[in-house]
């Protein structure tokens, strides 16, 4: 039934309504399309065994944009995010149907190799998870397995630029040979971001990257996200409405596995059209 909303993009505008008046959860409210998409998802369903976790989600992820995904716990944000680089493949019994394309390439195509896909769609996790290796090796790991560097100097420069982009260079340059696990939580998370950008991805997925961090480290990462937007496309899951408002251009609201509403971040936070979205962002729910 979402077919119709996907096929008639103007539908939402036609039924332009006052804030918080839409109640039906059958269709996504708002503009799921963007002019310049990097990834396009159509009618995505995800099942964990028998249990369906994502229901018919269609969404575009725009180039050089930050899109944030919000919603109550358990609504399927992480699950949806993990579809975008096929991390769900690593979970036993997880099944994804529908279509997800990246630059016109269907990423669930049977013949597609996930290795280059995951190299171009990087991921940063909720809990910082540096490998128990040195800081240098943490960053060099990705470039090494993808053969991105020809020699040691090149690898050194990749490590340096990645750390610089992640804003960790100043703090880490004198201790590159020390274990990454010895950094503070915020530094570890930036190390993980540096590790993700070291393989020059096009899209970076972040699943609650700041939930384990203090406000100062969070501010640093948010700043970083804003800078990274120039080069990368970013999808971020967050529980902090302020964070979504600060870092993202578009916001998608999920509820019980359905994409309820999506739109410009300003619009979502000032005049949400769906009743559920309004309840959530005004704190009446979730």
């Amino acid at each position: 039934m979402n077919e119709t909303s996907a096929a008639t993009p103007g539908l939402a505008e036609e039924t332009e309504a006052a804030a918080g008046t839409v109640q039906s959860t059958d269709d996504t409210v708002g503009e799921i399309y963007v002019d310049d998409p990097r990834m396009t998802c159509r009618n995505v369903d995800v099942y964990y065994g028998e249990k369906q976790a994502i229901f018919d989600v269609s969404l575009d992820i725009g180039k050089n944009q930050v899109i944030s995904m919000i919603g109550p716990s358990g609504c399927g944000k992480s699950t949806f995010l993990r579809c975008l680089n096929r991390m769900n493949d690593t979970i036993d019994g997880c099944r994804v149907t529908g279509q997800i394309k990246m630059d016109e390439q269907d990423i669930y195509d049977g013949g597609l190799d996930v290795v280059p896909l995951r190299a171009s769609v990087g991921m940063v996790f909720q809990k910082p998870n540096p490998f128990p290796k040195s800081i240098y090796d943490n960053i060099a790991y990705g470039p090494k397995i993808h053969g991105l560097s020809d020699n040691k100097e090149h690898l050194d420069s990749i490590v340096e630029t990645s750390l610089q982009r992640a804003g960790l260079w100043e703090e880490a340059k004198d201790r590159l040979d020390q274990p990454g696990t010895g950094l503070s939580g915020g530094q570890q998370q930036r190390l993980c971001i540096a590790r993700a950008i070291a393989v020059s991805p096009e899209v970076i997925l972040m699943d609650e990257p700041c939930s384990a961090l203090d406000p100062i480290a969070t501010a640093k990462i948010e700043e970083l996200i804003d800078e990274l937007r120039e080069r990368f496309t970013i999808a971020i899951v967050t529980h902090s409405m302020q964070q979504a408002a600060r870092v993202s251009q578009r916001t998608a609201y999920f509820h019980l596995g359905k994409l309820i509403e999506v739109g410009e971040t300003d619009q979502i936070f000032t005049s949400p059209r769906h009743k559920l979205t309004e309840d959530y962002i005004t704190g009446r729910f979730g």
Binding site: N85, M87, T90, D92, V114, V115, P116, L117, R118, A119, G122, M123, F125, K127, N129, P130, F131, P132, K133, Y141, G142, I145, H146, T181, C192, R195, A196, V199
Partner: protein
């Protein structure tokens, strides 16, 4: 009237005490548990403990002194000339008396005095048992009654019960520790006696092992040479072969189980591996001696090698097979202990499964794996049955796995099987070997446990 009857009676009394203690505590506060310091069951337990513990302690003390006290009294009653016998002879007589009183076979002819002594012994024992019965039961009842009478609502029964439980646990672990210490000390003392006869240096660095000593001075026979190097060399050779078999196979099967196998396969294969671990070593032993060793010998003849029918190779390979489940289950544990987040991080960067295993999981799990392998080594060193059956008895000093070698454990077995004097160098050598073996395995275990523990800390 047996001791077991007494114990059962005491247990019965304890449950009665529990019931009455609990009841009294409840009646003190009119059923309002809230007004009590502790839950009623604690008052019950406290009363039961008072009822049981003093009586049981008394029972234990009584039983341990009864024998000597009664024997002393029997000796007093014996005729003068028997009393003046040297201690060993007296012991023999007393033994006969005891046997007589139990109706067993006696070593010497039964005369009048012996029969009298035996009757005396029997009656004394009977009286003692009776007395024990009465005294223990009255102690139990009195102490229980006293404990029940003195219950007050402020009494800190919970704390006392906790303390008593604490004490019980402590004494159990102390018992275990003391037993171990006792064994170690006895091995140590016997070894010292051995080293008084054979110099330590000869034992540790001697290259020849031939423990046959003449038992009687008039016997012809060698005087025995106790150089333990060939034994330890043999042990190491077999252990090495076992590890060459067990470590790669065990590790790879652990990796497969932990990272590749489907849930379905895992639930099937894990129990099978556990069965492998549960096969008694004696079964592995005759498998090695009857199947594997002849197979290697025939194979050797086919390709023009001389393989002795008892070879280090056969014993080592079978021992390796025995240890596979040990290595694989320990490695499986450490591999599973590597957090999922590590794998996600690696997969998220586009690493394949084998890249992730090689670059992230194995390095992260390595200390734990090394620890597990060291534990397996110490197990292989101490293993006896397989080598007794398959490795041979001749103490060859060789690095050739196709020859027969012998191991420390095999020699300990052969030294102690059959008749022997308890203080000959031959018998005492077993203790010296055991001591060295013990030190080696202890050191290995300590290193291994240290490594494993350190590795655990990383992720906690």
């Amino acid at each position: 009237m047996h001791t077991s009857t007494l114990i059962i009676l005491l247990l019965g009394l304890m449950s009665l005490a529990y019931y009455f203690g609990r009841k009294r505590s409840l009646s003190l506060v009119g059923g309002k548990v809230r007004d009590l310091h502790s839950l009623p069951s604690y008052y019950g337990m406290q009363t039961a403990m008072w009822c049981g513990i003093p009586a049981l302690i008394l029972l234990a003390l009584w039983l341990s002194f009864e024998e000597s006290v009664v024997t002393g009294m029997v000796v007093e009653s014996l005729p003068q000339e028997i009393q003046e016998l040297p201690p060993e002879r007296l012991d023999l007589v007393l033994n006969d008396v005891r046997n007589l009183s139990q109706g067993d076979i006696v070593s010497s002819t039964v005369d009048q005095t012996m029969q009298q002594a035996a009757d005396h012994y029997t009656s004394l024992m009977g009286i003692s048992h009776m007395a024990l019965f009465v005294v223990a039961l009255s102690v139990a009842i009195l102490a229980g009654l006293w404990a029940q009478r003195t219950i007050t609502r402020e009494q800190r029964a919970r704390n006392r019960v906790e303390k008593a439980i604490n004490f019980f646990l402590l004494s159990s672990s102390t018992l275990a520790i003391f037993t171990t210490v006792g064994i170690v000390l006895s091995v140590l003392f016997e070894s010292v006696r051995f080293f008084q006869q054979i110099p330590v240096t000869e034992f540790l660095f001697g290259l020849e092992w031939s423990p046959q000593t003449a038992i009687r001075p008039d016997q012809v026979g060698s005087s025995g040479v106790f150089g333990s190097v060939p034994l330890f060399a043999g042990t190491m050779l077999i252990t090495l072969i076992a590890m060459i078999v067990a470590v790669p196979i065990g590790l790879m099967s652990a990796i497969y189980m932990a990272e590749y196998a489907s849930k379905h396969f895992r639930t099937l294969a894990k129990p099978v591996l556990e069965v492998l671990a549960g096969i008694p070593t004696v079964v592995y032993g005759f498998f090695a001696a009857l199947t594997v060793a002849p197979f290697f010998r025939d194979l050797g003849t086919d390709i023009g090698l001389t393989v002795s029918s008892e070879s280090a190779l056969a014993a080592g390979v079978v021992m390796g097979i025995m240890i596979i489940p040990f290595v694989s289950s320990l490695s499986d544990d450490v591999i599973n202990a590597v957090p999922q987040a590590m794998r996600d991080g690696s997969y998220g960067l586009g690493a394949t499964r084998s890249e992730t295993i090689r670059n992230v999981i194995i390095p992260a799990a390595l200390p734990g794996i090394v620890g597990g392998v060291l534990l397996a080594v110490s197990r292989a060193i101490g293993e006896t049955m397989i080598v007794v059956m398959a490795a041979g008895l001749s103490a060859n000093l060789t690095a050739n796995p196709l020859e027969a070698v012998t191991t420390v454990t095999v020699q300990i077995v052969t030294l102690l099987v059959g008749d022997q004097e308890f203080d000959s160098a031959k018998t005492l050598a077993a203790f010296a070997l055991a001591l060295v073996l013990f030190v080696i395995t202890l050191a290995l275990n300590m290193i291994a446990l240290h490594i494993v523990r350190k590795y655990r800390e990383q992720y906690e």
